[in-house]
């Protein structure tokens, strides 16, 4: 799950329209069957197309039992103060998250939201493109996961939906274990602009425990540079962690078996940015205030924990 500058469905459609093409048809004149590469690209694009209609309440309802089992038994999940989330209307839920490519806090919170408000309430989660193109992408899209972009989020908020965003994205989930109790949004402030543009309140969601599901060693910036991945694949990081079953897990591309760490999620009081910061708010100040409040909450949650994993 992430906030990113990912290209969006509409971007893709516009680009294709500019190229005179139709998203579903071969463009390079003449051939009746699209090439394998074309089909692959189309499939990739269709997975990134954030159609809000892909969310399927019946599917969510029918799959909550598995989510509940994982969240209850494996992660002993605990979500506090769900009643602080406005009962209806659009809202931007801003969370920290952890655990590499397997983010247990997302599982626990998504379950809590769907059971607390019911699957009838539209709820979308913004995710990194890599997540949506992974094998679990189709599953997540039915749960309401869409590619992270300002436009997709705005579209969902305009439909009165609740939107969950993790500004720290792939950077935050791979922070080293010794920074487990640190809010690290890497300076990304897109969520503030989004809330201001859409005129919706933000509700900070703070979770602890996810970074105890493996031993996270490094973001791997130097490693990515040494292997020239930044030039070849535009990958600026290559995270390394110690986890099951790989032991040394480079990149976490295939995920890992998370340790059964107790996950605690705290919902904080809603913040109306216009009301609190006036008609022309300073984005930097809001960023510092919101991350500061979340850090204080995370410090309190961390202080409650007696042992790693055990909680």
């Amino acid at each position: 799950m992430a906030e990113s500058g990912a290209s969006t469905a509409t971007d893709e459609r516009q680009r294709q329209s500019q190229n005179g093409g139709d998203p579903g048809s071969p463009r390079d004149g003449g051939s009746e069957r699209p090439s394998l590469l074309r089909r692959f690209v189309d499939e990739l694009q269709s997975r990134l197309t954030a159609d809000l209609d892909d969310r399927d309440p019946d599917y969510i309802r029918e799959n909550l039992s598995l989510t509940w089992l994982v969240a209850s038994i494996w992660f002993r999940g605990e979500v506090r103060n769900m009643e602080r989330i406005p009962e209806e209307g659009p809202v931007l839920l801003v969370g920290n998250h952890s655990g590499g490519n397997i983010t247990p806090d997302t599982i626990v919170f998504t379950l809590a939201f769907n059971t607390y408000f019911g699957v009838e309430r539209p709820f979308y989660q913004l995710a990194h493109n890599l997540v949506l193109t992974s094998p679990v992408g189709p599953f997540l899209r039915k749960f309401g996961t869409v590619a992270a972009s300002h436009e997709n989020a705005r579209k969902a908020l305009d439909c009165d939906a609740a939107v969950l965003v993790y500004p720290g994205g792939d950077w935050e989930v791979n922070r080293p274990s010794w920074e487990a109790n640190k809010i690290d949004f890497a300076g990304r402030k897109g969520f503030i602009k989004l809330a201001l543009d859409a005129g919706v309140p933000i509700v900070p969601i703070v979770s602890v425990g996810g970074q105890e599901t493996a031993i996270f060693l490094t973001h791997g910036e130097r490693l990515a540079k040494t292997l020239r991945l930044d030039r070849l694949l535009r990958l600026k990081t290559l995270p390394v962690n110690l986890s099951l079953p790989w032991i040394v897990n480079v990149g976490d591309f295939l995920g890992h078996l998370p340790l059964p760490a107790k996950i605690t999620v705290q919902v904080m009081e809603p913040i109306d940015l216009r009301e609190r910061y006036g008609p022309a708010p300073d984005t930097q100040r809001i960023y510092e205030d919101v991350t500061g409040l979340m850090q204080d909450e995370l410090d309190e949650l961390a202080a409650e924990r007696r042992l790693p994993v055990v909680g």
């Binding site: 309802r61 029918e62 799959n63 909550l64 039992s65 598995l66 509940w68 089992l69 969240a71 209850s72 038994i73 992660f75 002993r76 999940g77 605990e78 979500v79 769900m82 009643e83 626990v108 379950l111 809590a112 059971t115 607390y116 019911g118 009838e120």
Partner: protein, 153 residues
């Protein structure tokens, strides 16, 4: 999955009925209830609706329920409108000597079926059984205290 718990309350049936049909009492005596709101204009009786959630494992589960059976001082049953499929019933019977037999029944089903749903139903039953047992003890204590207050007044 079906759960049934029974308790004998040393108080007349009328008092027990008044207690279990008053929505304001539910957050007091139902263990683990995290949300209980009257939904709509009807406070109690046939057709009254409540939004309820009870903590089970990692989630607050429940939804909107509606009273579908109302036999004064006898039976009150409800059924789910949204959320987890559920059906519940209070069944009160006179035992004589001013005592009442209270039976609480709760049936629920996890949507989707399959192995995960089957396991989830059974795992949830452990927690729910414990919660309802405690709830009936709370109910017995509260109604008997009220009975004593009425008798001494």
């Amino acid at each position: 999955m079906r759960i049934e718990q029974k308790v004998t309350v040393d108080a007349p049936r009328r008092l027990v009925w008044e207690y279990v049909t008053e929505p304001a009492n539910y957050p007091v005596f139902i263990d683990g209830l995290t949300r209980w709101d009257v939904a709509g204009d009807r406070h109690k009786g046939l057709g009254a609706r409540y939004r309820m959630l009870i903590r089970v494992g990692a989630a607050d589960v429940g939804g909107l329920i509606e009273i579908v059976e109302w036999q004064p001082e006898g039976d009150m049953a409800w059924s789910s409108v949204t959320g987890v499929d559920q059906r519940g019933r209070w069944r009160l019977r006179e035992l004589g000597d001013g005592r009442t037999r209270v039976t609480f029944r709760f049936a629920y089903g996890v949507a989707g079926g399959g192995f995960p749903a089957l396991i989830a139903e059974r795992v949830a039953a452990v927690s729910l059984n414990r919660r309802f047992r405690l709830s009936l003890i709370n109910l017995k204590r509260a109604v008997e205290e009220r009975g004593t207050e009425v008798a001494t007044a």
